[in-house]
Symmetry: C2
Subunit: 214 residues, 2 copies
Amino acid sequence: MKQLKISEAVVRRLPVYLQVLNELTMREVHTVSSQELGRKLNLNPAQIRKDLAYFGEFGRKGIGYDVDYLIEKIRQILNLDKTHYAALIGAGNLGHALCNYNSYIRDDVQITAVFDANPNKIGTTINGLTVQPMEALSEQIRSQGIRIGIITVPASEAQNVANELVSAGVDGILNFAPAILKVPDEVRIHHANFTTELLSLAYYIENERLERDE
Amino acid sequence: MKQLKISEAVVRRLPVYLQVLNELTMREVHTVSSQELGRKLNLNPAQIRKDLAYFGEFGRKGIGYDVDYLIEKIRQILNLDKTHYAALIGAGNLGHALCNYNSYIRDDVQITAVFDANPNKIGTTINGLTVQPMEALSEQIRSQGIRIGIITVPASEAQNVANELVSAGVDGILNFAPAILKVPDEVRIHHANFTTELLSLAYYIENERLERDE
């Protein structure tokens, strides 16, 4: 099936729309306007209409979007018709937090294996998963059909872990370590970087203050 | 001082450039080409040259960029001429991880106060900071000149915490809870969302597989 080319900014916004729409469904709200979505997301309604118009005209003027239909459509666009399995490497505080967080999305992306190099952590349990030694990584990734690796080890270890994940055949890596990692072109890597989040936030609040003070 | 308007995508890339440049300085590398930066960051060198050209011509053809000058320039653009203070609310696993992580950037953004509603956590210490009760939030934010709030509480508590941060007068919020929060227009909110990161990664790896299989 030929897929639409969607800009990276839209791909990043669609899961956020999905989250809001899922919250609406839980509250049994079945219709939503771009204005309401905009208010919830601090986004311009025109931006939302533009994003959603990528995929055909499925809002109705004056009535808004059918929430269930929009959820189905966005899930289709994001290829969320099956569960993606992920391995997490690094059973520290962040690893624990992500495994717990995982329950929010377990139908779409599910962490099914956790690894650590520290012998004291091996054999302990996080959210029902037993921490395994690094030596088991490659075999587990292959046998479980895991395609995503999540790196939550210290920066100094991150490149080695990325290399092992690549050798084991993952297609995507989500890196939380504060280090820029090199992977082959055919592996997709996203950096979930606390530092860059905080610095870009600092930029905006400072800039807005300077504008107010002009 | 009038600031340049920089696109959000560039504001998010600049701290990443900064991180790579800082790594180069530590290794005593003083010149870098857009090709080398591109390889390290998995970005197109043309994109990097375009981003940096925003701020004037400071690369030299055939030689590349002076690393120290580029660091200075990017820090200037990001308004990193002073330390921004932040409060973290939610002393769970994620809160612990972020406080530890904090040491990487403490000259630019520094977490100086940690709060939690759980009486068992109050009085414990994370990375040298004593966890304080929520009742102390407002006074601490004012007296310490804290302008950033970092939310690491469960989704169900996140909106209440955001409201308290807004009342206390913060200018920016970094929200890690898997919930969309409403804040007044004059407060900047960024959502650091594990779910959306994983779903957009899943989208790309699935899409690339579909393209290969065509």
